[in-house]
């Protein structure tokens, strides 16, 4: 789960990291009044779950409250990478002496939270990693000990020469690790961590992703979810315990298992079609889940055909077939449905489906070709 900059900053502040003040506005009026409260130059920043806000014009400097209002008016409602900006963060502009990058994420290879820091902040760390990796210092944190004070200092040591600044940054790095662990995060990032003329360090941007699997035990973090920042269909899918990702194509896919679901989408593409979504209904033959899946898929106006691809392993195909039949009875589907089932009790399942008037297949390739054809009809 991604959270907004302003939310990540709240978590960072609570962990003690020096974060400049800032308030969230949902209207140009609010932005103006916040800017007036701060006085002086402010920054108006779009709050969306997406990188590249700056390039998209979502971050603007405002010298006066009126200017803040104008920027907010332009930014609110703007689309950035398909996401609508609903809020802006208004925060005093800082006098920046240097910009560094400090981030921590769960690294697959070291199987541990891993820090990356670089004196080249304010830019995309991926780019730094690609063009001059020697500018990045890395450290895998042994999760049994946490980030040790000397390790934080070792990281800060690569960013700053001034001992006082180095120690302040080490402290902030330690606090970032604290925030990361206490939030159940999979990634937390300060980019840039700035220094000011008087040697203070401050986090002027903040990013954090939460491990969805941590949410059950962190209700205060789960409450940070912003459903307005995702398509309503994904909210609905999550509530129905379905894995769903909306895409731009016309072949609605409903598959059991994530790997098979991806392979199905790939095969749609292989045969010249475009998948409308990723959807994993899991191992269940529960009609309720099938109903929810069908409702989600059909709510996408681009969908021209619905493709089921079910592998019956532990799940019996006849159970799933009954679930599909019942679900389609309960909701009115306007687009054709093609179904492939194979595995346990395949024959009975095909019979059930054909009796109910569905095109039923046992070959994955055949059913995908058929779906692609229908999507272009």
């Amino acid at each position: 789960m991604n959270i907004h900059e302003y939310q990540a900053k709240e978590r960072f502040r609570a962990a003690g990291i020096p974060v400049p003040p800032g308030e969230v506005a949902r209207t140009p009026d609010e932005a103006e009044s916040i800017a007036r409260g701060f006085g002086g130059t402010v920054v108006v920043k779009a709050q969306v779950h997406s990188g590249g806000r700056g390039k998209a014009g979502g971050v603007k400097l405002a010298k006066t409250p009126e200017e803040a209002r104008e920027h907010a008016a332009r930014i609110l409602g703007m689309q950035i990478k398909g996401l609508t900006v609903e809020r802006v963060l208004v925060t005093p502009a800082e006098d920046i002496t240097s910009e560094a990058y400090v981030g921590v994420l769960v690294d697959r290879k070291s199987q541990a939270p891993t820090f990356m820091v670089s004196a080249e902040g304010g830019v995309d760390i991926e780019e730094v990693a690609a063009t001059h990796p020697e500018a990045i210092r890395r450290l895998a944190v042994d999760p049994r000990y946490g980030l040790l004070p000397h390790q934080a200092l070792w990281l800060a040591n690569s960013l700053y020469d001034d001992p006082a600044v180095m120690k302040r940054a080490a402290k902030a790095i330690g606090q970032l690790y604290r925030a990361f662990v206490d939030s159940g995060a999979s990634m937390a990032e300060i980019n840039p961590l700035i220094t000011t003329a008087d040697g203070e360090v401050k986090a002027i941007d903040a990013k954090m992703s939460i491990d969805d699997n941590e949410l059950f035990r962190r209700p205060e973090v789960a409450a940070m979810r912003d459903t307005s920042a995702e398509p309503p269909s994904e909210t609905k899918a999550r509530e129905a315990s379905l894995s769903y990702v909306k895409l731009d194509g016309s072949v609605g896919c409903c598959v059991n298992g994530a790997g098979l679901a991806m392979a199905t989408m790939d095969l749609v593409k292989f045969y010249g079609g475009e998948p409308a979504n990723f959807l994993d209904i899991g191992g269940s033959s529960n009609p309720e889940k099938v109903v929810a899946a069908l409702e989600i898929i059909t709510s996408d106006p681009n969908v021209k055909v619905i493709l089921f691809n079910i592998f019956g392993g532990i799940t019996r195909c006849d159970d799933v077939a009954n679930g599909i039949v019942e679900a389609t009875r309960r909701i009115d589907i306007k687009v054709p449905i093609v179904i492939r089932l194979t595995g346990t009790n395949e024959e009975q399942a095909l019979e059930i489906l054909e009796r109910a008037g569905f095109s039923a297949f046992t070959s994955m390739d055949e059913v995908v070709e058929k779906a692609v054809a229908l999507s272009k009809a």
């Binding site: 199987q111 298992g257 994530a258 098979l260 392979a263 194979t342």
Partner: protein
């Protein structure tokens, strides 16, 4: 022969009295897995009834289960909030292999659990995996037994149903398997492709390997390099997720393209560059394996 599990596997089921645990325990017993014990705290002293009238003792703790029954392998069907601790308990109790089926374990819990298991030299398979089956010998996990048959192909995969698909098609044309391993869809897994490739290479009965990857991470790339440098046996590969958009999680917690790393294209290229025959469609796996075994 086979890898990881065989006729000597003595299994204890953690969470044996739960809905999933009891269902799959019966499935495993039916297949012939030697299930020697179950663990459910608070139900110690009871017995679990198997499908054919046989019964298995239930213990409160793994320590007792292993001490009393000599179990050497455990499988975990406990809810995510308790699963990491169940892995630690199994590792502490002294089994050699822990198969963690549970999906949804917090990744920082797993970072600690993997460190703990590494310290003790215990192999963890998973979590969020379908388990492992050595046809004709033993099954640990949730893989459907009816789709496998004995034969020369080793199968290793990050996904469940996609593996079933491939294995089913192999079995359908009469090509059997030594062992099928689902390594799991989480970002931090205990046994990776390289571990399985090394085991298949060392297994005299395995003649060829099917490796099924997906987007996310760079395990496939490292596995490809390992195939080039260490494997004498032919490997057929498939990678799911060519149409997955970057930055979105595709069901599996580990199936996400972060930055430029972890795309299907990168993985397919790594496979091809390292002498792995890549199937464009799942159905093509069968033909490539037939060629490999020929």
């Amino acid at each position: 022969m086979a890898i990881f599990i065989d006729n000597d596997t003595r299994l204890v089921v953690q969470g044996i009295t739960g809905r999933d645990g009891s269902f799959h325990t019966r499935q495993m017993m039916e297949y012939g897995t030697r299930v020697v014990a179950g663990v459910t705290p608070g139900k110690g002293g009871q017995r679990f009834e198997g499908p054919a009238g046989e019964s298995v003792p239930i213990f409160d703790t793994m320590d007792e289960a292993v001490t009393e029954t000599g179990a050497n392998c455990s499988v975990i069907y406990v809810p995510p909030a308790f699963a990491a601790d169940a892995i630690l308990e199994a590792a502490d109790a002294g089994v050699d292999l822990v198969v963690a089926i549970t999906e949804g374990i917090p990744v920082l819990d797993m970072a600690r659990a993997h460190a703990f298991a590494r310290d003790r030299g215990v192999r963890v398979l998973g979590p969020n995996c379908p388990g492992v089956i050595s046809p004709g010998k033993s099954k640990v996990g949730i893989l459907p037994a009816q789709i496998v048959t004995e034969g020369p192909v080793g199968v290793v995969s990050r996904s469940g149903t996609l593996t079933y698909e491939a294995v089913f098609q192999l079995t359908h044309v009469g090509i059997g398997q030594t062992t099928c391993v689902g390594i799991g869809g989480d970002p931090l897994i205990g046994t990776n492709f390289v571990d399985c490739l090394a085991a298949f290479e060392a297994d005299a009965e395995t003649g060829a390997v099917v490796m099924i990857g997906e987007i996310g991470g760079t395990d496939e790339q490292e596995a490809a390099a390992y195939v080039q440098s260490h494997l004498t046996k032919p490997v057929v590969g498939f990678v799911a997720g060519q149409t997955a958009p970057p930055g979105r999680r595709m069901g599996h917690a580990g199936a996400i393209i972060s930055g430029s790393a972890g795309t299907a294209e990168e993985k397919i290229r790594a496979f091809e560059e390292n002498g792995i025959a890549v199937a464009k469609r799942p159905v093509d796996i069968v033909g490539l394996i037939q060629d490999a075994l020929a």
